[in-house]
Amino acid sequence: MDNVIRRRTPGARLARAALYAVLIVAALFYLLPLVIMLLTSIKPLDEIGAGTLLALPQHPTLAPWITAWGEACTGMRCEGVGGYFWNSFAIVIPAVAISTVVGALNGYALTKWRFRGSELVFALMLFGCFIPFQVVLLPMAQTLGWLGLSSSRAGLVLVHVVFGIAFTTLFFRNFYVAVPSELVSAAKLDGAGFFRIFWRILLPVSAPIIVVSVIWQFTQIWNDFLFGVAFSAHDTQPVTVALNNLVNTSTGVKEYNVNMAAAMIAALPTLVVYVLAGKYFVRGLTAGSVKG
């Protein structure tokens, strides 16, 4: 598939130059907002209003980053966004782990142990992806109250798991569909049970799709603001709430450099995940994608 335009004729060279040009222009389009954020975050405040967005800083400074991390006010606490990181991780890690495990088991059961109505079950769960979160806010609040989980981390984890398993099930189901069933059938004949087959046959080949599921869930949950703000208490707020308090404050002087630095700090974990695991991401999608 990848040796299509490779003949070394002048025309082909021109085509390759054009190819690179297009790719680089596209890259610039995608990078533009990030570059502006980065430039703004290292400018002193008085330079921001003065120059254009892409103007290089005259006196670059790291002060906004330091302020954003440890000093900016997010309400009456002026401790920056740094302290909220722990809250976010405490929510994200269990929620990602649980929803991935559940999704894997679901996908396995739906593909290798089909039963009457399993397609319907899948369709029903799939539709869960499409319910707007604003709709579920109030009933969810009520339910969490009933469960005694309101304003707790456990409650937030539950919410994220509940609305995450639709996607993780989708990922794993589509991946396992492509895993040859003959192995599973043979194992069944040998008397291997449900979990044993999963553990011995499916799990060892699941690494790519686990990466996909983890990346997806990590991004979704880390970036969530609505649930994070509605179902947390004063001491369990995730970092997006702190960021929102910085960025969306409507009175007082807007310290754009600090806002941008805070925004980038808050986005760092997801960015790191994408950069480090991006390769596996595409690989995982490949493995599960088109073999239908």
Binding site: M76, A141, L246, V247, T251
Partner: protein, 423 residues
């Protein structure tokens, strides 16, 4: 709804009662979780005074700040917390919304502290009425904002050779001179609430406070769909000619910074704008001018922030709430907070010498207008009508302002519908 809420509420009460019993100390020390949207640096520092006062009395302050859209996000959080039967002890709620929360039976009672502190005499009647539900105090006022201010850059006006306008007509008259020196006459941000702020100010200027009250507070359809309203709408749309093209979606403080920087000459905005001027190191009367919005000298559109108290679970919590309510009105906090916020204290008996000339004028006008009937609630800031009606009016106003084809007659008719047709 009430019955639904009661069950989880009781459970929380029980839980808190247990912890309270363990942690009881001679000075009834409780904790208050306060939901608010004082998130900007200046506000936060000012509100911190309250936190320190509370802590000095031995209470614990749990801070729950949520910024966004003038408290919209915070209100969503509050509803979600109320649904889960776990509301905070106190929340920044204002205007008619206090009544709605009161109707749901969720608010506590501050009558004891109100009586002990003499709120009935301390608070102006207009303010006290908003804080009471069904005759009982349920909330405590934090400050009084004046909405109908005009902020102007005197250097720019001088350069163009014009005076600070005293009527809407004069604003139009000086516009050409200002344009000639390359200045935008009126800085504005095209967000619905800002459009509505200009709109209500124009109505007040063109038709006076009695008409304002009839139309935008009592929602009299005859006033809303009247010749007077049509004239006011026409003038309102004409205000567009004073503004620039880039206004859409602009935050109000960006508009203020245009006045500070001299790109624009004036802005119609509430007194929270003062914080921007102060932060830029400017002095009122010299570097910038604050005057009542042209044509509204004898009126005062108020916007009052308040903290409403949710039903306390036990004595400690009740004591903490009472102390919080008392401390909010104490001079220490009133002065510190309002100096930072640009507003004036909610009690009329304080010495205003620490405040600047704008705030002093505001206080004088507040007292005068509460006598002569010029004191009106701000529709644009949720003090006059229910949120649903306010939203419907916003839709008409902002749509009319942005749609070149919509006639003032049609807008007036839709205003009348907006005021009456909601379920």
């Amino acid at each position: 709804m009430r019955s639904l809420l009661r069950f989880p509420l009781k459970k929380t009460l029980l839980g808190l009662a247990v912890t309270g019993a363990v942690a009881s100390s001679p000075v009834q020390a409780g904790e208050v979780e306060v939901l608010h949207w004082w998130t900007s640096g200046g506000e936060a520092r000012a509100a911190n005074v309250l936190k320190e006062l509370m802590e000095a009395e031995g209470h614990t302050w749990k801070d729950f700040a949520v910024a966004g859209g003038g408290g919209e996000t915070a209100m969503t959080v509050l509803k979600s917390r109320a649904m889960s039967g776990n509301p905070p002890s106190a929340a920044q709620i204002k205007g008619p919304e206090i009544q709605e929360w009161g109707d749901l039976g969720l608010l506590g009672n501050l009558d004891d502290v109100a009586k002990a502190e003499g709120w009935d005499s301390l608070l102006p009647e207009v303010v006290a009425n908003i804080m009471r539900h069904d005759g009982h105090y349920v909330a405590v006022p934090v400050n009084v904002h004046r909405v109908n201010w005009l902020w102007a850059n005197p250097q720019v006006l001088d350069e163009a050779g014009v005076e600070v306008p005293t009527s809407i007509d004069e604003m139009f008259e000086i516009a050409d001179d200002l344009r000639e020196v390359g200045v935008i006459p009126l800085a504005h941000g095209g967000q619905p609430w800002q459009d509505a702020t200009v709109f209500e100010t124009v109505v007040l200027a063109e038709a006076g406070s009695d008409f304002y009250r009839r139309a935008l507070v009592e929602l009299d359809p005859e006033a809303l769909n009247s010749e007077t309203m049509i004239d006011a709408l026409t003038t309102f749309k004409r205000m567009r000619t004073l503004m620039d093209d880039g206004m859409s979606g602009r935050d109000w403080n960006i508009a203020t910074s245009m006045v500070i920087g001299g790109q624009a000459a004036m802005q119609l905005m509430g007194d929270w704008a003062k914080g921007e001027f102060t932060a830029a190191g400017l002095t009122p009367g010299e570097d910038y001018v604050c005057v009542p919005a042209p044509g509204t000298e004898s009126a005062f559109t108020f916007n009052i922030d308040s903290l409403a108290m949710f039903q306390a679970s036990d004595e400690e919590a009740q004591a903490a709430q009472d102390d919080l309510a008392r401390l909010v009105l104490e001079p220490t906090f009133q002065e510190a907070f309002n100096l930072a916020k640009g507003s004036i204290p909610a009690r009329a008996d304080l010495d205003m010498s620490a405040f600047d000339s704008c705030a002093q004028r505001s206080m004088a006008d507040f007292k005068a207008t509460s006598e002569n009937g010029g004191l009106v609630p701000s529709m644009a800031h949720g003090m006059a009508v229910r949120a649903s009606v306010q939203g419907a009016i916003f839709d008409v106003v902002t749509n009319f302002f942005n749609d070149p084809d919509m006639s003032p007659e049609a807008a007036a008719e839709r205003l009348a519908n907006a005021g009456s047709s909601l379920l």
